[in-house]
C-alpha cells in the first residue's frame, strides 16, 4: 500500500507541471504555433521563482515572478515567430540556449562562483499524504480551462482556425497575429506556473539546467495526445506514471540495467500514441508562419 502511494505521489509530482504546461502548449499549437522554446521558458520561470523566493521567503511572490518572467521571454520569442514570421524551430532553439545561459550565469552570480546549494521556502504541502499542494489543483483546472477556451468560445474557434487555415481566418476579418499572440500569452502563463512549480513546490532548490528536458516531454505529450486536451492529459498522466514506476522499480534493486527503466516514461507515451490511433491529426498549419498580405 505504502509503495502504491509512493508511485502515486511521484506520478502527481511529475504530472502536475506536465499537465499545466501541456494545456497551454495545446492551445498554442492548435493556433498554429509550435513552441520549441518551452523548455527554456520553463527553466527561466523556475529560476526567477527560485530567486524571488530565496530573496523574499515567499513562494507566492516566487510564483508571480516565475509567471512574469515566462510571459516576458515568450513575448520576445512570439515577436519573432508570430510577428516577424521567423522559423519557429530555430527561434525556439535560440530561446532554449538563451535561457540556459542566462539562468546559469545569474545563478553563479547570485550564489557565488562555486555555488551554494540553497533551499527555499515551499508552498504549503501535505507531507504525510502524497505531498499534496495547492498548485496541484491547477493541474486539474488548467486543462479544463483550456478545453472550454478551445471548444466552447468564439475565440477558441478563431484560434483553431489559425492552426488549420490562417488565410481563411484572416479573410473573415480576424487578426491571425493577434489571436496567436493571445494563445501565446496563455501558454506563457501555463509554462510559467509549471516552471515555478519545479522550484517552489517540488524540489525547493535550483540547479543549472534543472528542467532536464521536461519541456520536450510536454511537447511530446501534446503530440501523443493528438492535440486534444483530453488526449494530452491522458498522455501526461501516462508519462508521469512511467516516471513513478521507474523510481519504484529502481528502488527494488533488480538486476535489470537501470537505463531500461529510464525509457519507461517514453515507452508509456508510445503506448498511449498507439492506443490513440489515427483519430485526429496535427493542425494543418502547425509551425507555419503567417504573414498578412
Amino acid at each position: 500500500m505504502n509503495e502504491v502511494l509512493g508511485i502515486l505521489s511521484a506520478m502527481l509530482s511529475i504530472g502536475t507541471p506536465l499537465m499545466i504546461a501541456a494545456s497551454g502548449e495545446t492551445v498554442l499549437e492548435r493556433a498554429g504555433v509550435l513552441n520549441i522554446g518551452l523548455e527554456g521558458v520553463m527553466l527561466c520561470s523556475a529560476f526567477f521563482a527560485f530567486l524571488t523566493d530565496s530573496a523574499t521567503h515567499s513562494p507566492w511572490l516566487g510564483l508571480a515572478a516565475g509567471v512574469v518572467s515566462a510571459v516576458l521571454l515568450m513575448a520576445v520569442s512570439s515577436a519573432f515567430v508570430i510577428k516577424f514570421a521567423c522559423d519557429q524551430v530555430v527561434t525556439g532553439t535560440a530561446v532554449n540556449l538563451l535561457s540556459l545561459g542566462i539562468t546559469g550565469s545569474l545563478f553563479a552570480f547570485a550564489f557565488g562562483k562555486t555555488g551554494k546549494l540553497v533551499a527555499v521556502e515551499s508552498v504549503p504541502k501535505n507531507e504525510a499524504f502524497l505531498s499534496l499542494n495547492p498548485l496541484m489543483l491547477l493541474a486539474a483546472a488548467a486543462p479544463l480551462f483550456a478545453w472550454i477556451l478551445l471548444t466552447k468560445t468564439r475565440w477558441g474557434l478563431a484560434a483553431r482556425g489559425c492552426g488549420e487555415s490562417p488565410e481563411s481566418v484572416s479573410a473573415l476579418g480576424f487578426s491571425v497575429i493577434k489571436t496567436r499572440l493571445q494563445a501565446s500569452g496563455f501558454a506563457a502563463v501555463c509554462a510559467g506556473i509549471a516552471g515555478s512549480y519545479l522550484t517552489i513546490a517540488q524540489t525547493n532548490s535550483f540547479a543549472p539546467n534543472m528542467t532536464a528536458g521536461i519541456g520536450f516531454v510536454v511537447l511530446a505529450a501534446v503530440t501523443f495526445g493528438r492535440w486534444s486536451i483530453a488526449g494530452t492529459v491522458f498522455a501526461s498522466l501516462l508519462i508521469a506514471l512511467g516516471y513513478g514506476a521507474q523510481f519504484w522499480l529502481k528502488a527494488k534493486q533488480t538486476a535489470i540495467p537501470y537505463q531500461l527503466f529510464d525509457a519507461l516514461p517514453y515507452l508509456s507515451a508510445l503506448i498511449a500514441l498507439i492506443c490513440a490511433g489515427r483519430s485526429s491529426s496535427a493542425p494543418a498549419s502547425l509551425a507555419r508562419p503567417f504573414s498578412p498580405k
Partner: protein, 326 residues
C-alpha cells in the same frame, strides 16, 4: 530582416565566447587551466576543483582560466586550445579527461595534462586519484551503526565508474560494522534533474532506507529535500554540504583539492613533474569527514569514537578502503 536579427544574435554569442584572448606574449606567465564536467557552481565535485584552481592562483600567482567541457568534442577542443595558448598545466576534472590527455598530449609536449582519476599515463600526462572511498567508508560505518531499519540507500546521477567506486567504499564500510545491513542503490542517470533525484530518494525511503548518501552533484538539493520531507539523515559528498540542508545533512565526505593541486602546479612549474597516477587520500589531508556541528551531538559517542579510530587507521595504512580501478 529576421535573418539579420538571428545573425546578430549568433555573432554576439560567438563574440561573447571568444573574449578570452591570450595575454601579452612578452613575459610568459605560468598558466593553469581547469576543465570541469559541470558548472563550477554545483557546490560539489566541480566546485572543489575550482577551489583548488583558486589556490594555485593565490599561491603561485598563476594566470588561471576555467571552462565547462562535457562532451568528447568540447573536451578535446578546450584542451587543444588551452595548449595552443601556451598553458603549462591543463587539469581535466574527471576520469573522462584521461583518454583525451593521452591522445592530445603528444602534440603538445610543453603542456602537462592531468585528469582527476584515470589510469593512463604518458611523459606529460598523468592523473590524480582522489581516494574518496575512504570518506565514504567512514560514512557507511556511521549509517550502518545508527540505522534503525537496517536499510540504507545510495542515490547516484549517471552511472560512471568513479561514482560506482565510491558506492563500493560506502557499502564496504557499512557491512564492516553490520554485515546484515541492506544497502540499496539507484541511479537517476542525470546530474541536473533535481526532481528525479528527489523522487528516486523518496522511492528508496519507501523501501525502508533511513540514511541516504548521494552522488548527484548539482541535483543534490532534491536528495536533501526528500530526506527533509521524510525526516531522515542524509550525507553530503565531495564538499561540505551542511549549508544545503542544515537539519538533514549529518556529515559530508569531502575532497580538499587545494593542497594536491598546489603541489602539482609547483612540480609542473619546476619542470619535475613526470606523468603518473597519484593516489591522494587521508594521509595527505585530501580526504576528510565534515560533521554538521549542529547535528553532531546526536551521533552516539561510540559511533564517533569508532569513526575516529578507523580514520587514524586509514591515515597510517592499517585500514584500506576498497576501491575499483577504472
Amino acid at each position: 530582416m529576421n535573418r539579420v536579427f538571428i545573425a546578430l544574435l549568433i555573432a554576439a554569442s560567438i563574440a561573447g565566447c571568444s573574449s578570452n584572448t591570450p595575454s601579452t606574449q612578452t613575459q610568459p606567465k605560468f598558466k593553469v587551466a581547469l576543465l570541469t564536467p559541470s558548472s563550477v557552481n554545483d557546490s560539489g565535485w566541480s566546485a572543489l576543483a575550482y577551489d583548488g584552481l583558486m589556490g594555485i592562483k593565490q599561491e603561485l600567482g598563476a594566470e588561471v582560466n576555467n571552462v565547462v567541457a562535457a562532451t568528447p568534442q568540447e573536451r578535446r577542443d578546450a584542451m587543444r586550445s588551452y595548449a595552443q595558448q601556451g598553458y603549462n598545466l591543463v587539469i581535466g576534472h574527471g576520469y573522462e579527461y584521461n583518454q583525451d590527455g593521452i591522445e592530445i598530449g603528444p602534440d603538445f609536449p610543453k603542456t602537462v595534462f592531468v585528469s582527476s582519476s584515470g589510469t593512463k599515463t604518458a611523459p606529460n600526462v598523468g592523473t590524480f586519484r582522489f581516494y574518496l572511498e575512504q570518506g565514504m567508508y567512514l560514512l557507511g560505518m556511521t549509517a550502518a551503526k545508527m540505522s534503525k531499519t537496517g536499510v540504507i540507500g545510495m542515490v547516484g546521477g549517471p552511472e560512471v565508474p568513479s561514482i560506482e567506486s565510491t558506492f563500493v567504499g560506502f557499502e564496504a564500510g557499512a557491512k564492516s560494522v553490520r554485515p546484515d545491513i541492506k544497502v540499496l542503490k539507484a541511479y537517476t542517470g542525470s546530474n541536473d534533474d533535481v526532481n528525479k533525484a528527489k523522487q528516486q530518494t523518496l522511492a528508496l525511503i519507501d523501501q525502508g532506507a533511513d540514511f541516504i548518501i548521494h552522488q548527484t552533484n548539482a541535483a543534490a538539493g532534491g536528495v536533501f529535500e526528500a530526506c527533509k520531507e521524510r525526516q531522515i539523515f542524509a550525507f553530503g559528498t565531495n564538499s561540505d554540504q551542511t549549508s544545503a540542508a542544515p537539519d538533514t545533512v549529518l556529515a559530508s565526505a569531502v575532497i580538499i583539492a587545494k593542497p594536491a593541486f598546489i603541489q602539482l602546479a609547483k612540480e609542473v612549474r619546476a619542470g619535475t613533474y613526470k606523468g603518473e597516477v597519484r593516489l591522494v587520500g587521508m594521509d595527505v589531508g585530501a580526504i576528510g569527514i565534515a560533521w554538521n556541528p549542529a547535528l553532531k551531538p546526536r551521533v552516539p559517542k561510540e559511533v564517533l569514537d569508532m569513526v575516529a579510530d578507523a580514520e587514524s587507521k586509514m591515515k597510517s595504512g592499517a585500514l584500506v578502503a576498497p576501491k575499483n580501478e577504472f
